[in-house]
């Protein structure tokens, strides 16, 4: 272990190495996001005059405990990927605060953030587009080791890369091959190995299996779950549009709609007791591979389409499509309200019901 690394580890208070290890409480929060906003400017003309904003993420808050998998689910344009990219600082958020390992990172300058970068890794969706075609698989995986100066000799580098290959189920003999020589599933393994190279404590998995075939998807899902099991305190943010996959892998799920979290709870609770009308529609839209169950399941077909985030509806952004909307939904933005342990919903009707119950 070199010195730079040890200091850096202490810097973020990460109990990863034996010498700096401290007891970690079970509900230790690794990441906290508060009122995150990401607005992308729309510019027009020669002078790039700003004519509007895309409100990709509009006030998202959540916390993740160490060792947990938080699923972010929603349809395209709901902001789930943008949330991931703000956390990994691919984007500089417009507003809001992010704490990682109890340290606020949202306002850090790029230079200050750089040493933290290896602790927050990203696995991307497209196993074809996200790997440099001119780099060998070995150098793709090993690059973070060099950048963060995590190895001292060539032999150690090779050993570490070979170890990472083996960890994700790739033959280390393939290190000198180029990405085009691998299948989609193998490429995704390369992407995972690279993400693991920096020895991260948080991995943001952005649609990691969406581009893969059904039979390969299961291999990658199992690999991700095994990696977590085999480590102490590896944490995932798992972003996907496929609710069945998200439910399978997550400990808690946040459902997003048009830049906001509308419901956040455990998978079992989400399936048996979905409360937000959008969550209910989303669940009912997923087909279960079982004809008898499908024959009896209720299907809520929503009217219209997801509105544009350029000009989102006022109040609750779901009100125009919501079968249960009241006039108040058009004007008031609902806040996430606790309805049970580990179950929060952002819906005015729920808040109303809670008030009534108290009376």
């Amino acid at each position: 272990m070199n010195e730079a690394r040890a200091t850096e580890t202490r810097l973020v208070g990460r109990p990863q190495d034996a010498e700096v290890s401290v007891a970690v409480p079970a509900n230790d929060v690794i990441l906290k996001v508060e009122d995150l906003r990401m607005y992308f400017p729309i510019t027009r003309g020669l002078l790039k005059r700003k004519v509007g904003e895309v409100k990709a993420v509009d006030g998202v808050s959540f916390t993740i405990r160490r060792g947990e998998t938080l699923g972010l689910v929603g349809e395209s344009g709901c902001g789930k990927t943008t949330v991931g990219r703000c956390i990994s600082r691919i984007y500089q958020p417009t507003d809001g605060r992010i704490w990682f390992e109890h340290r606020e990172i949202s306002k850090l300058a790029e230079k200050e953030f750089r040493p933290l970068r290896r602790h927050i890794a990203v696995i991307f969706q497209d196993p074809y587009g996200s790997l440099d075609p001119r780099q060998t698989a070995g150098s793709i995986v090993g690059e973070p080791l060099e950048i963060h100066k995590m190895v001292r000799s060539k032999a150690e580098y090779r050993e570490r890369v070979a170890g990472l290959f083996a960890k994700v189920g790739l033959d280390p003999a393939l290190m000198s091959r180029y990405p085009h020589e691998f299948s989609g599933g193998q490429r995704q393994r390369i992407g995972i190995a690279r993400a693991l190279a920096g020895d991260p404590s948080l991995i943001i998995c952005d649609e990691p299996v969406s581009a893969l075939d059904v039979s390969i998807q299961a291999q990658i899902i199992n690999l991700l779950m095994d990696l977590k099991e085999g480590s102490s305190g590896l944490t995932y943010i798992f972003i996907a549009h496929d609710l069945s996959v998200v439910k399978h892998i997550s400990d808690r799920i946040a459902v997003m709609y048009l830049g906001r979290v509308v419901e956040i709870t455990t998978p079992a609770e989400l399936y048996s007791n979905p409360i937000h009308p959008y969550t209910r529609a989303l669940l009912s839209a997923v087909c279960v591979p079982d004809p008898d169950i499908e024959a009896t399941r209720e299907r809520i077909v929503l009217e219209g389409e997801v509105p544009s985030p350029v000009n989102p509806p006022s109040g609750c952004t779901f009100h125009a499509r919501c079968p249960e909307a009241t006039p108040a939904c058009k004007t008031t933005v609902p806040k996430l309200t606790m309805v049970a342990e580990d179950h929060e919903v952002a819906c005015l009707r729920v808040a109303e019901a809670a008030v009534k119950e108290e009376q």
Partner: protein, 336 residues
């Protein structure tokens, strides 16, 4: 010419072969498949990418372009073998879009960006139903209205890029059913769309096809979608049908190791927590000059020496009406 095919079915495909000649060899994309579709039936064609499900459908429509060619087989539709017609013959053109229509996966790329939506619908109405411009226009408005496009009359002169993805797929459905075809082939019709939009459009598509009393071939990799909608299924692997049967038999009595593998490898919304997925190991085979043996052999958990040395087995019946499976391990007895 409304007589039925040999066995009283509307469409009967017999021993169809389609191959692509490329530098590395010949890709046997469709490697001898036979299937049938009854009137008003909903048939699911299931398989992973590269299994030949799309190519088989394009072959039925004779839409295979070089370096591909249909290397053999018959496609019986209403008593005629469509493969006897040349791809560009007037007969084949009358079939395409008129009697059999196709809804493609990508609403972004399969609409012509240089023609208005209205023109793309009226084209087939004028061609197949001999309507004049005015009639066709009126009918196009009616169709767009049916598929849920708001203020259809004013949107007729818009171009595809002015519509969202979901709206474009609605237009595709409208084009697909414009001439009230006998059969619609929907190739991954909703895969590119979001969950809730998918649900909207599948329901819409089914209702629309039902209204014109057509049959539907649903080509997809999504087992949930076929579980919900299909009556019969064909499971394809490496250019061949490895299992076929009624939807319930396939789901509750899957017999081919590949089908079983597929069902065990997808996470289900209704599963209990902690259930581990059972993936199919390995990767789908390369279809360039494949060996004569069962193509699933390298990935099969039940393989034996016989599977390695002998050629592909035939489709043989197992428990369940019309339930057939192509596997040596299921011969001479009940299905698994």
């Amino acid at each position: 010419m409304c007589e039925a095919g040999p066995r009283g079915r509307m469409l009967e495909v017999e021993d169809l072969y389609t191959e692509f000649k490329i530098d590395q060899g010949i890709v046997h994309a469709v490697n001898g498949i036979s299937y049938a579709v009854d009137e008003r039936e909903i048939v699911g064609m299931v398989g992973e990418s590269g299994c030949g499900k799309t190519v088989s459908q394009l072959s039925v429509m004779q839409l295979i372009r070089r370096p591909g060619r249909i290397a053999g087989g018959k496609v019986w539709f209403e008593g005629v073998n469509l493969l006897e017609y040349r791809p560009n013959s007037p007969e084949m053109r009358a079939i395409r879009g008129g009697k059999i229509s196709m809804i493609f996966q990508e609403p972004m790329t399969s609409l012509n960006p240089t023609l208005t939506i209205g023109r793309q619908i009226t084209e087939s109405l004028e061609l197949h139903l001999g309507m004049n411009k005015k009639e066709a226009r009126a009918r196009a408005i009616e169709l767009l209205d049916q598929v849920g496009i708001p203020s259809a009359a004013s949107r007729l002169d818009d171009y595809p890029h002015q519509f969202s993805g979901g709206m474009r797929q609605r237009v595709m459905i409208a084009i697909g059913v414009a001439c009230e075809p006998k059969m619609v082939i929907a190739d991954e019709p909703t895969t590119a769309l979001d969950c809730t939009t998918q649900a909207q459009l599948l329901e819409l598509m089914l209702a629309t096809i039902d209204r014109c009393q057509g049959a539907l071939v649903l080509v997809t990799h999504n087992l949930g979608v076929v579980a919900r909608y299909a009556q019969r299924l064909y499971i394809m692997y490496a250019g061949k049908i490895v299992e076929e049967g009624r939807c319930r038999d396939i789901f509750y009595r899957p017999s081919h190791p590949y089908t079983i593998g597929l069902l065990n490898s997808v996470p289900r919304l209704d599963e209990a927590k902690g259930k581990r997925l059972v993936p199919i190991w390995g990767t789908p085979p390369n279809l360039i000059d494949p060996p004569a043996r069962c193509a699933f052999y390298p990935r099969c958990p039940e393989r034996t020496e016989r599977c390695r040395v002998e050629p592909w087995p035939e489709l043989k019946p197992v428990e369940g009406e019309g339930h057939l499976v192509r596997c040596y391990m299921r011969e001479g007895g009940r299905g698994a």
